[in-house]
Symmetry: C2
Subunit: 375 residues, 2 copies
């Protein structure tokens, strides 16, 4: 019997409820496919922060670093200013473990309602590879008052003037600013991952940027994309401005196979993608470091208003669990979980409210576990 | 007879064709409502740039500054690197004229097909107020090689470390970076504009940001939003993360009345909004400086592959023309143009290919002009 030890971070809000269902289904798959999981629970999240002042310590991260995978519920709590927990736990982990790929399948399952007209599961089946450690997520920025701002604005305006030959006046006195950076190495590795994925799919990679306006950062991205593309002559490519791709996700999702995107744009377009595939309750994600510790989670948030109500859809989390055990090498078990999710949906009896049902979170988990076990 | 003099910048690709239809319809409205327009054409765009090396000179801008409104076709040409024309002409004008509001109505007209299920014109009727002169559009960024990058990365990592108490290693050697800034004054004025608009609509303003991650720049935005909101106790508000709002645009567009957004996120969500209202061929925009020179344009691009084919939909441009003459005080004429567009669509005989028709650009312009004239 193969033994796995997997750390859990159930987190905030509905996190503990949905993670419980994910564990339930993986345990069922283990029973069927001959593996056993020891779950190791970590307390990080809002309550732990309010009690101890700790977000996640370097010690905890170093300990978690010994595991190949982590299972995460959701992070975020209305008692705490937006960003504190998300940056201090979720993003800190993504950065610390150097999980440079955020893998988000956009796939309409059979029997799922999508808000988009005239599309079938055959039309909505692509994967977004979101860069996950750089870009505007590096947390550099600040505020400036008169003195400093004058300097910064001087620099800004003179650069702007030099570029466009214009002289623009400003007398702003206070500003907020943010800096994004991408590195050659960081850009190449995620784009390579996307091309490798496409080699095993429909051999098409779409790049997302805004190189016509944020030219410094995304002109750089485009060049690296072009470099990596030249190593894959059998893969076709296209460039998409981020504004335009939101239209095509809705109008022509069938155009896409693998979509590779800088971090921030990836955040935006995968929420849209989640809606196209039927809603956040159905959208899983993996934060992947192919050589290190990967972390799997639903892409939705902690939905505080539904906390403890046994109401929300656990499918995104269960599906993320399938991606997680696939990463551990349990491909067959992972496939059986995904197909059990599909069976549960098609039977249309045991569904949560977001899918027009009235079953509870745990009912759906029970049902999927039952199907996995072939009962 | 009121006389107007309006500068035209037809621009690139399909720009000249669609602008011609816009002028045709406005001339018809003038005939009916007793005003006369003298159109003054400017050559700026790809051809002019390739011939003369000039994008748009400060002299031209200073001259255009004497007019209350400008009518713009579209800018962009595949012969020229992405961004050169867009930044050198379109964005240069938005900045030079300090057109701090980019006003983009998202309105499903009667008879228009939307890709979204179960929504009627009553559900899709809101306005996006996009900040138009700051944020990541200020054009500041660059590349850095080893030496400089080490410094910048040092700063970045030490800031990051200080924030999260983590020590993160990197050995990246080359980077691209971009800086965004928003000012107190620039943020307040656009948010005030949004609240004033909402006072005359359904009295609800939705703010867009990503304050949980890009906290420095958008935390600042949130504070200013809160400040301005306190001046409008009769207007309700909500905060939306940019990723989430893309879902609600698709799933629940009826939730929105006025949406106010920083520049870059506004770019992204208004393309999505355009698709929700039936496609780019139908989406107009105004770059507004309430005390200066405003500029009206369709929000679509120059569609080079359709250039000269009399094929594309001129409705976005004609609608932008209606917004333009409303700005000049011709509200009645503007309303008649919008209702003529609706009549043209409802009659369903004379439509371009994007609306499942087979008529030409000029046929649609002729038809709308005819309806305006009541013929
Ligand atoms: C919670 C937030 C920090 C996070 C992000 O922006 O990446 C979330 O939106 C996501 O997409 O995983
Ligand atoms: C062409 C481009 C520079 C422009 C922008 O990014 O603002 C366009 O997408 C728009 O929305 O008007």
């Amino acid at each position: 019997m193969t033994q796995y030890k997997i750390p859990l971070i159930p987190g905030d809000g509905i996190g503990p409820e949905i993670i419980a269902e994910g564990c339930k289904v993986i345990d069922a798959a283990g029973e069927k496919f001959g593996f056993d999981v020891e779950w190791v629970e970590y307390p990080h999240g809002a309550d732990h922060y309010l009690e101890t002042g700790e977000l996640i310590s370097e010690d905890s991260l170093a300990e978690l670093n010994n595991y190949p995978v982590i299972y995460l519920g959701s992070i975020g709590d209305p008692r705490i200013e937006p960003g504190v927990l998300e940056k201090g736990i979720l993003l800190a982990a993504r950065f610390y473990f150097d999980q440079y790929v955020n893998l988000r399948p956009i796939k309409l399952l059979e029997g799922v309602w999508t808000p988009i007209k005239d599309k079938t599961p055959a039309d909505i089946d692509f994967t977004v590879v979101r860069e996950n450690t750089e870009d505007f997520y590096i947390g550099i920025g600040g505020r400036a008052n008169k003195g400093v701002s004058k300097d910064l604005l001087e620099v800004s305006r003179s650069l702007y003037s030099a570029k466009f030959g214009l002289d623009i006046e400003t007398d702003s006195e206070e500003i907020g600013y943010q800096i994004g950076m991408i590195s050659k190495e960081g850009t190449q590795r995620v784009i390579r991952y996307a091309f490798d994925l496409a080699e095993n799919r429909k051999k098409h990679v779409s790049s997302v940027d805004k190189a016509n306006v944020l030219s410094d950062i995304y002109g750089f991205w485009r060049e690296e994309f072009t470099n990596v593309a030249s190593e894959h002559p059998g893969v076709t490519t296209d460039f998409n401005f981020v504004d335009a791709i939101t239209m095509w996700f809705v109008k022509n999702p069938e155009w896409f196979d693998v979509v590779v995107t800088p971090n921030m744009f990836g955040d935006i377009i995968t929420d849209l993608g989640a809606m196209v595939q039927g809603g956040l309750g159905l959208a899983p994600g993996g934060n992947i470091n192919p050589e290190g510790t990967s972390m799997f989670e639903p892409i939705h948030g902690s939905a505080p208003k539904y906390k403890g109500q046994n109401k929300v859809n656990p499918i995104a989390t269960i599906w993320a669990g399938a991606m997680m055990i696939e990463q551990l090498g349990e491909k067959e078990a992972a496939d059986v979980i995904v197909s059990a999710i599909e069976t549960n949906i098609l039977e249309a009896k045991i569904r949560t409210y977001d899918m027009n049902g009235s079953s509870g979170t745990s009912d759906v988990g029970d049902d999927i576990a039952r199907i996995v076990l072939g009962k």
